[in-house]
């Protein structure tokens, strides 16, 4: 395939002709685009020059557009255009006739509108979230009256996916954290000769605080993102609309099972992870401080009042519901494009972790006088 070329000559009558030849197509033009455009512009500026396009073998719309722009969107006065190329330029001519409206020009005081949009966006988030919770309460009331409609299958599937399947990873992380925590505390406690307090530290720290928050963070990253992505894709592919047309309530069939499953699975995961983390701590304490397993297990119930277990389970329920609700909230906000899907999934994980930590602080304040060792 030959490239695009041009040549100048003067005919018998003394008229100067610019003769174009070769292949004027995108693939051939792309490497020499700038140079060619500059050269054509220079030639077009000369008065009385003739354009001869008869040598052009093939011309696509990129080549034609290049010429058309050089000609300032009209045919030059002196032009030899073979018939076969005419339709190409006719299309350009037709395209130029439709009036154009670009994207909206930026207005003055745009920042006011931006601030307003942000505020409205925030308000929408809050009101949508409240509406989601309200709908859930209505669903629960409805299910209490009509227990036959409880979506057992979906709930149990979610329970398996976000509960049972999370057990290995939470156990692994919990065990390692228990070891590290116990090791670091032991280093300090040895200095004070306060070895036996390792049980108090690990017991209170892991059961009351670390266990619930750790599990919540892991579940938010693991199941929260999955729930958001699932709901988001269902919106992109209009599956949610399809469900709605079949008279299936999306909140009853999609959201309730997820929230219910995490509300059940999370406290169990918290207990499981805390137990494993304590085991990790126990192993480490035995190595470092020579505290026997028997002593550790014996002392634990004495220094950690049982109320802490209740608080931990309550936290588990609350965190589980929050993670699921936040995930569903963002999943339902996904607009049908990939960019929105990815940003909402990120937002879902970040927000649910933040919310969990905020609520954990509230728990700390509300339960400050409960379950402390005497």
């Amino acid at each position: 395939m030959s490239g695009a070329s041009l040549a100048l000559d003067t005919d018998a009558e003394g008229r100067r002709w610019l003769r174009l030849s070769g292949t004027w197509r995108l693939m051939a033009l792309a490497p020499q685009f700038e140079a060619l455009a500059g050269e054509l512009d220079r030639q077009a500026a000369q008065p009385g020059i003739g354009w001869d396009l008869q040598g052009i073998e093939s011309l696509d719309s990129v080549g034609a557009m290049l010429l058309w722009r050089v000609w300032q969107r009209r045919y030059p006065e002196i032009l030899q255009l073979p018939d076969r190329l005419e339709p190409v330029f006719e299309r350009l001519y037709a395209a130029g006739k439709t009036p154009e409206a670009g994207p909206e020009a930026p207005r003055p005081y745009e920042w006011v509108a931006t601030v307003g949009r942000l505020a409205i966006g925030l308000w929408r988030h809050v009101s949508d979230f409240v509406a989601l919770i309200g709908q859930l309460v209505l669903d629960i009331a409805h299910l209490a009256r009509v227990p036959g409609e409880i979506p057992w299958r979906e709930t149990s599937a979610n329970l398996y996916k976000s509960g049972v399947r999370a057990m290995p990873v939470t156990a692994l992380v919990g065990f390692l954290i228990g070891i590290v925590l116990s090791y670091l505390s032991a280093l300090q406690l040895k200095n004070f000769g306060a070895d036996i307090f390792i049980v108090n530290i690990l017991g209170m720290g892991i059961i009351r605080e670390l266990g619930p928050v750790l599990v919540a963070v892991l579940v938010a990253g693991r199941s929260g993102s999955a729930l958001t992505a699932q709901l988001g894709v269902m919106r992109v592919t209009e599956e949610i609309d399809a469900l709605a047309t079949m008279g299936v309530s999306r909140s009853l069939r999609l959201i309730f099972p997820k929230v219910a499953a995490l509300a059940v699975a999370m406290p169990l995961l918290v207990l499981w992870t805390s137990a494993i983390a304590l085991m990790g701590g126990m192993v480490s304490a035995q190595f470092q401080l020579d505290i026997s397993y028997g002593y550790f297990i014996d002392t634990l119930p004495k220094v950690v009042p049982v109320a802490n277990l209740y608080i931990a389970s309550l936290k588990g329920v609350a965190f589980g519901m929050l993670v699921a609700l936040v995930a569903c909230h963002f999943g339902l906000r996904v607009r049908p494009n990939t960019e929105s899907l990815s940003s909402n999934t990120t937002a879902s994980v970040v927000s649910s972790i933040t919310v969990v930590i905020l609520v954990d602080a509230l728990f700390a304040i509300a339960t400050r006088s409960i379950g402390m060792p005497i």
């Binding site: 693939m27 093939s58 339709p87 299309r91 395209a95 439709t98 494009n337």
Partner: protein, 259 residues
Amino acid sequence: MTSVIEIDHLSTRFGEHWVHRDLNLEIQAGEVMALVGGSGSGKTTLLRQMIGLLQPSKGQIRLFGEPLFTGNAEQERNLRRRFGMLFQYGALYSAFTVFQNIAFPLRELGVVDEDLIHDLVMLKLSMVELLPRHAWLMPSELSGGMIKRVALARALSMEPELLLLDEPTAGLDPDRSESFVKLIRSLHRQLGLTVVLVTHDLDTLAGLATRVAVLAEQRILALGTIDDIMQVDHPFIRNFFCCDRAQRALQSRASEGVA
């Protein structure tokens, strides 16, 4: 005449299910080859194999004379720039506006002049009968037919030598399909495009195809001009071509006089 696509003893299998068995087909430069066949007969699969998106289970495909799946990245990249594909469901980039979708191949090919890109995008839009204001919509805001047309505009914006169209007129109103046929026909005439199209629409078929390949029973059952194909005695072909609506479409073609 050089052949653009050569399919040589191709077989395709999904699990235990054979879609193609020992299929041969050759597509010459400058022809408009229509691929017809029942739903699920493997037309889309064959198109995907032609452009190297899917590796056949057996057999070989040569595109522009060069074998696919050689592992040579540079060669494959160059090959991929020579054809445009219109996917059955559009496959627009959902995070981009219509404008960015159409401009994307141009930018990839190294056109940097933003004004020129703008003019070209507007030209492509007008070629597929969309309005300039549609350029700022997102794919999710388009109707089904509009998605088809934007996808065509995107496939055309690379100015390909080979155009593969998977059911281009499904979902278009009759008026639009007719102007689509006209557009492709004039592009074909001016640029010497090679077109491979899959269609169930007899008007499109009659208006465009210079040759027809019938895909049935896992192979190319018949190959030739429409008139040749209609002579073939096979249940699928009888049903496809020989009922009333087919006759109507073909008659109008005869009266128009297809080039």
